[in-house]
């Protein structure tokens, strides 16, 4: 039987996937087709959404991309006749297929294939066999050993060995222990965890159950960002179904091991991605980090031994138990084992979710998989690790993806946000953007972070406005170092990274802003002028009619010009011009 799956992660739905689904549902009834229509999660090719996959039983026949509601008739015609001409223009190109074919999917396996709302679909694809193996055939110690052999490290950003945390929590005194999943994915530009939860929630639950068994926890809690409503709905349904099947709850698989699950929706605070702040938030308080030690493994949630891992970390666990730690450790480099998921966005041609073995180069992801820039401008840099990370410039594109190698550049592996920028992005503006974020999100506990980030932002603001002074760069560096040493939590200590890396690699851009009062990328609005390029202007007058300030004048069929005194730099003329004649300089 023909099966049709419509990718419905948040991205897909935003691009119109649920409308396509509804139209297909109607078309199937109208045309009386013998087709099984179902929902699947994020396929990962976000730039091609909405995506419709046509399966013959379990093998993918055709993948259709950028499908619109109006295409459902053609899809129906194809299903009826098998005549490919009906859908030819929708079929994914070989170039785009390469985006998925060049990936190695462990954490993302099943995403975009299984139906996230049906536990049976997960089970029939081999789901929960690793849990059974762990509970029935393995001791908690041997589970921890297997994770140790695998060399799995925390995927949330810090890269701390997972087995070590599990072992510490296991060895802590006390009957009552908690296993917590950090799904408070706060880095702007990162959506790997959301995709895992929305697309394959049972994989997360399975990994968490194995972790709970290993440390001896009877309760598991998932702390999810409030901005992810669909993830919460799918997770709730998955837990309910697992409960009904006896996979979550009392005496799982008759092993004597019991574990209950609960979801806690966050309320919007970036700092809650820090594990001790997350615990405070779980307890109903302001999410302010605690002093470590004691570590959560000794004294965490309600001061009981607790273990906190990120979504992607748990998403690897069942694969490791099923295939063995050695198999996992074969992938990657000496220091970094396995794969890493990246959410690749920005000025990239093919943006989406990419899972690759550690040890690949940045350029493999950006050019081979991502297809390079979507604009006609040159590749400038990639930002890794969000507000805690940094920018790695184009001439270092051969840097190997590995915890140590990336840290050596001043950036970090981070949770997987990878924002690609071209020559039109101002690096001072980029640093300003992140500091604006961290200054707002600083919880306020430590003076250096609370006031330091604010001061950094003020200086950067000034520089972007053309009011920079000599000595500002040194002042920025000093302040950054103060924050690094004076902040309590990891997020505070890394908050200056975006400033430090941009100064390190783009000092000339800072100097251009400060000394020449010029923004080389043409992005800082106070430092650019809008002008009309006489070689391109055809004198159509469209821009002058759009200009709300009456700043553009000229004669029809002759070159128009902009009066910079009157210009408010709103950019409407750039949108209006069909010849690309309005330029920012």
């Amino acid at each position: 039987m023909i099966k049709i799956k419509v990718g419905q992660g948040s991205c897909g739905i935003s691009a119109g996937a649920s409308k396509v689904y509804a139209a297909l549902e109607k078309q199937i009834i109208d045309d009386n087709l013998d087709v099984q229509l179902s929902v699947t999660g994020c396929i990962g090719m976000c730039y091609l959404e909405p995506i419709v996959d046509i399966y013959d039983e379990n093998s993918l026949l055709k993948r259709l991309v950028r499908v619109k509601e109006s295409d459902v008739q053609s899809i129906s015609d194809y299903v009826k006749t098998g005549d490919i001409t009906h859908i030819e223009n929708l079929i994914v190109s070989d170039e785009d297929k390469h985006f998925l074919d060049s990936q190695t999917r462990i954490a993302l396996r099943g995403c975009g294939v299984i139906n996230p709302d049906e536990i049976d679909d997960y089970i029939s694809n081999g789901g929960y066999t690793a849990l059974r193996k762990a509970l029935v055939e393995m001791t908690p110690e041997s589970v921890i050993d297997e994770i140790k052999v695998a060399g799995l490290a925390g995927r949330g950003g810090a890269g701390f060995p997972t087995w070590f945390k599990w072992n510490a929590a296991r060895n802590s005194q006390g009957e009552e222990k908690y296993l917590i999943c950090n799904a408070d994915e706060g880095d702007p530009g990162a959506f790997m965890d959301r995709a895992v939860i929305e697309s394959n929630p049972h994989n997360l639950i399975e990994g968490m159950l194995i972790g709970a068994y290993a440390i001896g926890a009877k309760e598991a809690i998932i702390y999810v960002r409030a901005e992810y409503p669909l993830a919460i709905i799918r997770l709730e349904r998955a837990i309910e179904q697992a409960n009904e099947k006896g996979i979550v709850g009392e005496n799982i698989f008759g092993s004597g091991f019991s574990c209950s699950f609960r979801i806690k929706a966050g309320a919007g605070a970036f700092v809650c991605g820090e594990e001790t702040a997350l615990i405070e938030s779980l307890e109903g308080s302001r999410g302010m980090p605690r002093l470590k030690p004691p570590f959560p493994a000794q004294s965490g949630y309600w001061h009981k031994p607790s273990n906190i891992n990120n979504v992607e970390t748990f998403a690897n666990v069942s694969w490791i138990i099923e295939n063995g730690g050695e198999e996992f450790a074969k992938l990657g480099t000496e220091d970094s084992k396995g794969t890493k998921v990246f959410a690749i966005t920005g000025k990239i041609k093919r943006g989406g979710l990419v899972e690759i073995p550690m040890g690949k180069k940045l350029s493999d992801v950006i050019f081979d998989i991502g297809g390079g820039m979507k604009t006609d401008k040159d590749y400038k840099c990639v930002q890794l690790g969000g507000p805690s990370g940094g920018c790695i410039p184009a001439d270092m594109q051969d840097t190997v993806i590995d915890y140590k190698k990336l840290s050596a550049t001043g950036a970090i592996m981070g949770s997987g946000g990878m924002v690609v920028m071209d020559e039109s992005t101002c690096m001072v503006g980029m640093a300003r953007f992140f500091l604006d974020f961290t200054a707002k999100e600083s919880c306020g506990k430590c003076t250096h972070c609370r006031i330091g980030t604010k001061r950094l932002l003020e200086i950067l603001d000034r520089i972007c406005k053309g009011e920079g002074k000599e000595g500002d760069i040194e002042l920025l560096e000093d302040t950054c170092n103060e924050i690094k040493t004076g902040a309590l939590c990891g997020l505070g200590q890394t908050a200056p990274n975006p400033v430090l890396t941009t100064i390190k690699y783009y000092r000339d851009e800072y100097e251009a802003h400060i000394i020449e009062k010029r923004c080389p990328a043409g992005e800082c609005i106070d430092l650019v002028n809008f002008i009309i390029n006489p070689d391109k202007c055809v004198g159509c007058s469209l821009c002058s009619r759009k200009c709300p300030a009456g700043a553009i004048s000229g004669e029809i069929k002759k070159t128009f010009s902009i009066d910079s005194e009157k210009c408010i730099k709103c950019g409407q003329c750039i949108d209006a011009c069909r010849f690309g004649a309005v330029e920012k300089r």
Binding site: A15, G189, E441
Partner: protein
């Protein structure tokens, strides 16, 4: 008991939530989320009521509520514009959109238009990075935006609201 004056909130709407959660430790954020779902925002009399029923000091209730960006203390407009300011949207021009919204509606982050139709809220990341720049208005996501598209969407919503009001 709630009074019937227009400036006080109907506190009885919160009874079920408080019956369920008041004595469960660590539930304050959940209670606040449910309260906001009921009232649309967190009026100060509601916060005081939560404090007195749960026994949590009012200072802590206000402290927690003001810590998290999800909570608001003023009613929002008919259309809540959540403008994504994530990294991908930033790189693809979200600042220009914020300016467009200001030029069109005269509101900045956190403000509501005088006619009560639109509220603008900058949000960290909506997670639809491949469609950047993005905004979400009352659960509907609009992607690949340009200033022109934003102006058209706002004009359409305004028209719809005016038509509704006329009917």
């Amino acid at each position: 008991m709630s009074c019937n004056c227009s400036s006080c909130s109907d506190l009885s709407l919160l009874n079920e939530t408080l019956d369920h959660y008041a004595s469960v430790p660590g539930s304050l954020i959940t209670i606040l989320q449910k309260a906001q779902a009921i009232y649309g925002y967190l009026p100060s009399d509601v916060l005081n009521h939560i404090a007195s029923v749960t026994g949590i000091p009012a200072a802590k209730v206000f402290g927690v509520a003001t810590f998290y960006t999800q909570f608001r203390f003023k009613p929002v407009g008919k259309y809540l514009i959540m403008l994504c300011q994530g990294t991908a949207c930033h790189v693809n021009g979200s600042l220009m959109l914020e300016k467009t919204i200001y030029d069109t509606l005269g509101i900045k982050d956190g403000e509501t238009t005088e006619d009560g139709l639109f509220t603008l809220k900058n949000v960290a990341c909506l997670g639809c990075c491949s469609l950047s720049p993005v905004m979400m208005i009352n659960d509907e996501t609009y992607g690949s935006l340009t200033p022109q598209k934003v102006r058209e969407i706002l004009a359409r919503l305004k028209d719809e609201a005016l038509k509704e009001a006329a009917e």
